[in-house]
């Protein structure tokens, strides 16, 4: 199809030389928010789209997690046994009683797709941070925590560190120099899956997780 490519580019080039360049100011101003303001904004925005937020400490978030999944009477919880959260989750499970089964799968998705789609109640992942202005999580999935963890099970539980909240999306990109190397897949998540396709009425849990639970470590 190189002919198509050449034809298209030739047609565009026939004119693009005459178009004056556009003066573009990319110096977008970042709001002047402190850590506490970022936390409040983040929680407010995420809660407004039906995300459940729990403000926790670095020392006890896993206990809160255990309590939450127990209350929900889940059968199981998918986690990454070699991921950044594993040690604390496993410790909490060792101490806890009558907790849902911890599920760890390290094979490629293709080998346990049926189970992931129809047998897992919830999954927990870490995040790369969050965006205060609009209330969104930033996830750059890894081999340890694949992207389907935060996508397929009906409940997604995410752990965010308050220190990793950015003011805006533009700040996240600029501060971390994303353009130097994007991952296979990066995703911003602001709440549980939803649709307003019928009569513009919001309905939750259409394809992605029905619930999004955030543990915010302050």
């Amino acid at each position: 199809m190189n002919k198509a490519r050449d034809n298209i580019l030739a047609r565009l080039r026939a004119r693009s030389t005459e178009i004056p360049p556009v003066e573009l100011d990319r110096g977008f101003r970042s709001p002047d928010w402190n850590r506490q303001q970022r936390i409040e904004l983040f929680c407010k925005a995420m809660t407004s789209v039906r995300t459940e937020i729990h403000r926790v400490r670095a020392s006890d978030w896993a206990d809160r997690l255990a309590q939450l999944v127990k209350e929900r009477k889940l059968n199981n919880l998918l986690y990454a046994p070699n991921g950044p959260l594993a040690r604390q989750i496993e410790a909490a499970w060792r101490n806890g009683e009558a907790l849902p089964e911890l599920v760890s799968r390290t094979a490629e998705l293709d080998e346990w797709k049926e189970e992931l789609f129809f047998g897992i109640d919830a999954a927990i992942t870490s995040t790369r941070g969050g965006i205060a202005e609009v209330g969104a999580l930033i996830l750059w999935p890894t081999p340890q925590e694949p992207r389907s963890f935060s996508l397929v099970p009906p409940i997604h539980i995410a752990v965010v560190k308050a220190d990793q909240l950015h003011n805006t999306f533009a700040d996240a990109i600029a501060d971390e120099n994303w353009q130097a190397g994007m991952p296979t897949n990066a995703v911003l998540i602001s709440g549980p899956s939803k649709s307003a396709d019928i009569e513009q009425t919001l309905a939750y849990g259409v394809h992605g997780p029905v619930e999004l639970i955030v543990l915010l470590i302050e």
Partner: protein, 472 residues
């Protein structure tokens, strides 16, 4: 039948359907209100619109080099890039990929370009199954319809209609008019389809040249599923969707979601930069990007109409359009309705087929005022009105001059002569005043819903003289 007669027929059908009228009115009122609330600070809105317009204008100004950069970076990342001049070529590319994988099952995320390609139609004729997974698209696919709005494709249907449709197509599911229940039913039905699909198809909201990243804006998670679960992901997009830098994305995203649904951000914003890498445990093993031209490079050649390529497909122009609100999306005909559709679709599919759409506007300006990237929509509609009746046919728009009729041209020539010749004009108005009572009190369709305007006994020209106003 002429395109005008066909359009009139579709319009009549819509206007005569009170349910449809109500659905559009209520939805458009809601969407306008949501957008308004999403931009409480109007000065900020205007600033952001300027930034958005400039980002898009910059990307267009440098489009050929950015497309090459996008291709180079995607290729480096492992995304296979395909170019298609026509929708036939684009469909063929998609089919070839499916056949190479012996695939028959495609799950689709929302893509207006695939609507433009009539991809489902094409692939189904080749024995492939294409399942729409966006809830709205799924509903209209069940009813064998086209989208009536670019972001709310099934908005013409009431929940009762959706409930009856679900019952008819899935008799095993209990009848319900509850929107949550209907939504959960769709989740159940489509879950298996995601699981089984061999090909995932999506559109693209922004393609970032700098990093070779494909951005996808969505709320349902079906976009994520389509681009994560099946072993092969095909993204189709128009060539105009390229932007220069990753830093260009946040302002555009902000404008897009707030203008479309009043959301500060959608539930998911996907940035896809490569297929599954060694060691990664999920994600498609192949990612393909199909770049479709279909007349875009021709539109690009016109220094004025070119502005229509800035569009980021938010739908705000249709939400704010009083004509769209009355007739809905299907009356327009082509995949994209509303003001932006009336500008770009006749340029893609020819003025000889859809030129009438440019006349179906009062030029009230609500669309141009709402457009987040400042596309001068009324001006472009105006330009297409000229293109379709112009005599010289020296421009590049398809179907130029095709709507010129001898009779209409003669009327305007006569009109022009009267109004360019003061003496003739004054005589004509004097005659009209003299015979004002002889003028029939019904003048065509105007008088079916309105009284006929009465000519005054004395013109302003005459009154001004009598009241002593000087004439020079």
């Amino acid at each position: 039948m002429t395109q005008k007669a066909e359009f009139d027929q579709r319009v009549k059908q819509a206007l005569d359907n009170p349910q449809l009228r109500r659905n559009f009115r209520v939805t458009m009122d809601g969407l306008m209100e949501k957008r308004d609330k999403a931009f409480p600070d109007k000065a900020f809105l205007e600033e952001l619109r300027t930034i958005g317009a400039n980002i898009r204008a910059n990307a267009l100004a440098r489009q050929p080099e950015l497309l090459e950069q996008l291709e180079a970076n995607c290729t480096r990342n492992g995304i296979q890039v395909h170019w298609a001049e026509t929708i036939e070529q684009a469909n063929r590319i998609v089919l070839d990929i499916m056949e190479r994988h012996h695939a028959t099952r495609m799950i689709k995320g929302k893509s207006m370009v695939s609507e433009e390609m009539q991809m489902n139609h094409f692939l189904e004729a080749k024995g492939k199954s294409c399942v729409e997974s966006d809830l709205g698209e799924y509903i209209i696919q069940l009813d064998n319809e086209a989208p009536s709005h670019i972001i709310a494709p099934a908005i013409h249907k009431s929940k009762q209609e959706v409930a009856r449709l679900f019952k008819a197509k899935h008799p095993d599911i209990p009848y319900s008019e509850d929107i949550d229940t209907l939504t959960r039913s769709a989740r159940q039905i489509l879950r298996r389809k995601f699981h089984d699909a061999e090909i995932g198809l999506s559109g693209v909201n922004f393609a970032v040249a700098e990093t070779g990243t494909l951005c996808l804006v969505e709320n349902e998670g079906n976009g994520r599923l389509c681009t994560t679960v099946p072993p092969v992901h095909i993204a189709v997009t128009g060539i105009e969707k390229v932007v220069e830098k990753l830093a260009d994305v946040p302002p555009l995203l902000k404008l897009l979601t707030r203008s479309a649904t009043g959301q500060h951000i959608t539930t998911y914003f996907n940035m896809i930069s490569s297929p599954r890498k060694p060691g990664e445990r999920d994600g498609p093993k192949e990612v393909h990007l199909v770049l479709l031209d279909n007349q875009r490079s021709r539109i690009y050649g016109d220094s004025e109409l070119f502005d229509s390529l800035r569009c980021i497909r938010c739908g705000a122009c249709m939400n704010h359009c009083p004509v769209y609100t009355r007739i809905g999306g299907h009356a327009y005909g082509p995949p994209i309705p509303g003001p932006i559709g009336s500008v770009i679709e006749p340029q893609k599919f020819g003025l000889e087929n859809f030129g009438v759409l440019a006349t179906a506007s009062t030029l009230c300006g609500a669309c141009g005022e709402a457009c987040p990237v400042r596309i001068p929509l009324p001006k472009l509609l105006h330009r297409l009105r000229y293109e379709q009746v112009r005599e010289d046919r020296t421009g590049a728009t398809i179907g130029q001059g095709s709507q010129r009729s001898g009779k209409e041209a003669l009327i305007w020539k006569l009109w022009s002569w009267i109004h360019a010749t003061p003496l003739v004009y004054r005589s004509a108005t004097r005659l009209a005043s003299l015979f004002r009572n002889r003028i029939p009190n019904r003048i065509g369709p105007w008088s079916q819903v309105r009284t006929t305007p009465r000519i005054a006994p004395k013109s302003l020209h005459q009154l001004a003289r009598e009241e002593g106003f000087k004439h020079e």
